[in-house]
């Protein structure tokens, strides 16, 4: 018996509408010539131009990018080294630590944010008691981003390590490489696709984050999502639409890059498999 495909198609349609209609509205109205939020009254790029004159937006953009790059770099280094360490552990402790690693990923951001804030405040008051100047700001923000990014890097590198045959590392040693050289020249190039996509995921997560940043930064340091949030509170302006559109497109491009990397990797794996068999 053949099932009708119509209900499935309809469902898919609904899902697409629910997911993308809001973003589509956002994009369309970022080009709206007037401030109306209900009627499209002509095409303009003014809001984008305005955006690039807005000093608050520009400095937030700069901060967000610096924060994303630095936190992604740090998380990639720490996460890759941790993944290698985890990989070399015995089965049981490895499983336990990997489970621990997953907790921050599924933990609600607000809890991560609040708990990080509490820790930072504790440190700040300790430092102040020593007579030092300290407060929430860029440093705490960066620490928070590195912290929540590390698990994503580990999750992205682990599968590549698991694909390696045990003999690959041993073959490098056998040919005279010391353990450091073996990691530098053989293991790292082999797991590179995982490291790169881990770095991009971390970068994206960092740009994307609002809640954790909100709790862990000081009053003077604002990321782009925080600026957008603040704008919606004060003045309703299509500038918000333009800014959001740009952020959406950036994240979209990054996701596409990750996808391409991973599917290329998959193809490579299949090719190798065929070559061996």
């Amino acid at each position: 018996m053949k099932h009708s495909r119509v209900p499935g198609r309809v469902l898919q349609g609904f899902i697409a509408v629910f997911l993308y209609a809001p973003i589509l509205v956002l994009i369309v109205f970022s080009f709206n010539a007037t401030k109306s939020r209900v009627k499209f009254e002509g095409f303009t790029l003014d809001w984008y131009a305005k955006l690039f004159e807005d000093r608050q937006v520009l400095s937030a953009l700069y901060l967000t990018l610096v924060l994303a790059v630095l936190s992604a770099l740090a998380a990639t280094v720490i996460g890759t080294v941790s993944a290698i360490g985890l990989h070399n552990m015995k089965r049981r402790p490895r499983k336990a630590l990997l489970a621990l690693n997953n907790i921050p990923v599924v933990n609600p951001d607000i809890i991560t944010g609040v708990s990080l804030m509490l820790v930072f405040l504790l440190c700040v008051s300790f430092l102040r008691s020593l007579g030092l100047r300290a407060g929430l700001g860029f440093t705490t923000l960066l620490l928070a981003h590195v912290t929540f990014n590390i698990p994503y890097v580990i999750l992205s590198v682990m599968p590549k390590l698991r694909q390696l045959s045990r003999n690959t590392y041993e073959a490098a040693l056998d040919l005279g490489a010391n353990p450091f050289q073996a990691y530098r020249r053989v293991i790292l190039p082999e797991i590179m696709p995982g490291v790169v996509s881990g770095a991009i995921i971390a970068f994206t997560m960092s740009i994307d984050d609002f809640l954790i940043s909100y709790f862990t930064t000081g009053t003077s340091v604002q990321t782009l999502p925080m600026v957008i949030y603040a704008m919606t509170r004060k003045r309703i302006s299509p500038e918000i639409n333009a800014l959001s559109t740009l952020m959406f497109l950036t994240v979209l491009v990054l996701l596409i890059v990750i996808n391409i990397l991973q599917s290329r990797d998959q193809k490579e794996k299949e090719r190798r498999f065929r070559a061996v068999s």
């Binding site: 045959s165 003999n167 690959t168 041993e170 073959a171 490098a172 040693l173 056998d174 040919l175 005279g176 490489a177 010391n178 050289q181 073996a182 020249r185 053989v186 190039p189 082999e190 590179m192 490579e268 090719r271 190798r272 070559a275 061996v276």
Partner: protein, 389 residues
């Protein structure tokens, strides 16, 4: 005999308390082609990994050129390995795979410092190694663009380009088809002759071991059963396991009557073996090509032809003689159902200790204990198996 290069002394290897190698002793000489032969899981790879430095023995010593190397890490041993599953580096092309060891190597220069090999020498040696394994012109290929046999050759080139004193090869031809395997056997021998280094070779293919080796080491269950030249191992196996593993054999349980006289298959035979206890149970091994078929009354045994299979050069014939089925190789084929006689000369009868019947301190079993169920009697068992069926 050339000088001794590697020596394993009472090497025991245990994983999680389970003994995988049982106090093995092994001497490997310079320029020798030595083969570790044994069934799957007998500890061949583990032995190789001990020599390569990837495992440290639980007890015992490993000596290289007289120096104890138990704690020397793999990258400091003058030994290279061709792994069971090649283990090439997929992110590098053929040239860079082979050049890997050379790019890492440091050579002492005049001033007491160490420097890298010059690019020109690397190029020359890599091309030389590729030519040696018959892969000239393949240097730009990616590893996954090669067939299994070609990948195997790259693995060999990658190892020998470093001019190790010893090359360890773990079933390097295991993944190849029969024809290619024969070719590569020949080529490997040729390579060994040309580079003049020691090969420690692992295989579970007895024919491969016999045709390629100077010395064969037969292993079973983590124990070395016999060490000898291929001819010795084939002609003078020390026990039934070796006899059975090396070529096909008729293995019959019997009893040593006295020196030069053994009883099996219901009668006494003259033999060339001596030095057993009187009435000691033994294994009698007779190679199928040593059994001669005669007219029914012309031999010591008489039986009926059960099956005849053409094997190319000879026929494989099974002959029922009472409870025992004999395997005979002959160039002439009798008909199924024919009555034939079997003739054994004393030189064809090899008498061997039966190790599993002789746990230390146990008393020798007598004739009555052994005879009734020759195929299944295991000594010491009280027959739980098969009673209920």
């Amino acid at each position: 005999m050339p000088k001794e290069l590697i020596r394993l002394v009472d090497c025991t290897m245990a994983f999680d308390g389970e003994i995988v190698l049982n106090a093995i002793n092994l001497t490997i000489h310079d320029k020798e082609f030595l083969t570790l032969l044994g069934p799957s899981g007998c500890g061949k790879t583990t032995t190789l990994r001990l020599i390569g430095g990837f495992e440290t023995p639980t007890s015992g010593g490993i000596f290289f050129d007289g120096a104890r190397i138990n704690d020397v890490p793999p990258h400091k041993r003058r030994v290279n390995t061709v792994f069971q599953k090649y283990a090439l580096f997929p992110h590098l092309n053929v040239f860079e795979n082979v050049a890997f060891g050379l790019r890492i190597a440091k050579i002492p220069d005049g001033g007491g410092k160490k420097s890298r090999l010059p690019e020109g020498e690397i190029e020359e040696r890599v091309q030389g190694a590729l030519e040696l394994v018959g892969l000239k012109g393949y240097h730009r290929r990616r590893v996954h663009q090669l067939s299994g046999g070609q990948q195997q050759r790259v693995a060999i080139a990658r190892a020998i380009v470093n001019r190790p004193q010893v090359l360890l090869l773990d079933e390097p031809l295991g993944a190849l088809d029969l024809k290619l395997r024969k070719e590569m056997q020949h080529e490997l021998k040729e390579i060994q002759r040309q580079v003049g280094i020691t090969f420690v070779y692992v295989t579970h293919d007895q024919e491969e071991a016999l045709t390629m080796s100077d010395t064969v080491v037969v292993m079973n269950h983590g124990n070395i059963q016999q060490i000898g030249t291929p001819v010795d191992i084939y002609n003078e196996p020390v026990n039934a396991f070796v006899a059975d593993f090396i070529g096909e054999s008729n293995i019959i349980q019997g009893v040593m009557h006295k020196d030069y006289s053994v009883s099996f298959a219901g009668r006494l035979f003259e033999c060339v073996d001596s030095g057993f206890d009187p009435n000691q149970p033994v294994d009698v091994v007779v190679r199928p090509e040593d059994v001669r078929m005669t007219p029914p009354d012309g031999g010591q045994l008489r039986g009926t032809v059960n099956s005849v299979t053409f094997k190319g050069v000879f026929y494989e014939i099974f002959i029922d003689v009472g409870e025992i089925e004999w395997m005979v190789h002959s160039t002439s084929a009798p008909k199924i159902g024919d009555e034939v006689g079997l003739l054994l000369t004393p030189e064809d009868i090899h008498v061997m200790d039966r190790p599993d019947l002789f746990p230390e301190g146990a008393e020798a079993l007598t004739l009555e204990d052994v005879d009734p169920e020759p195929e299944f009697e295991d000594g010491g068992g009280d027959g739980e198996d098969g009673e209920e069926a």
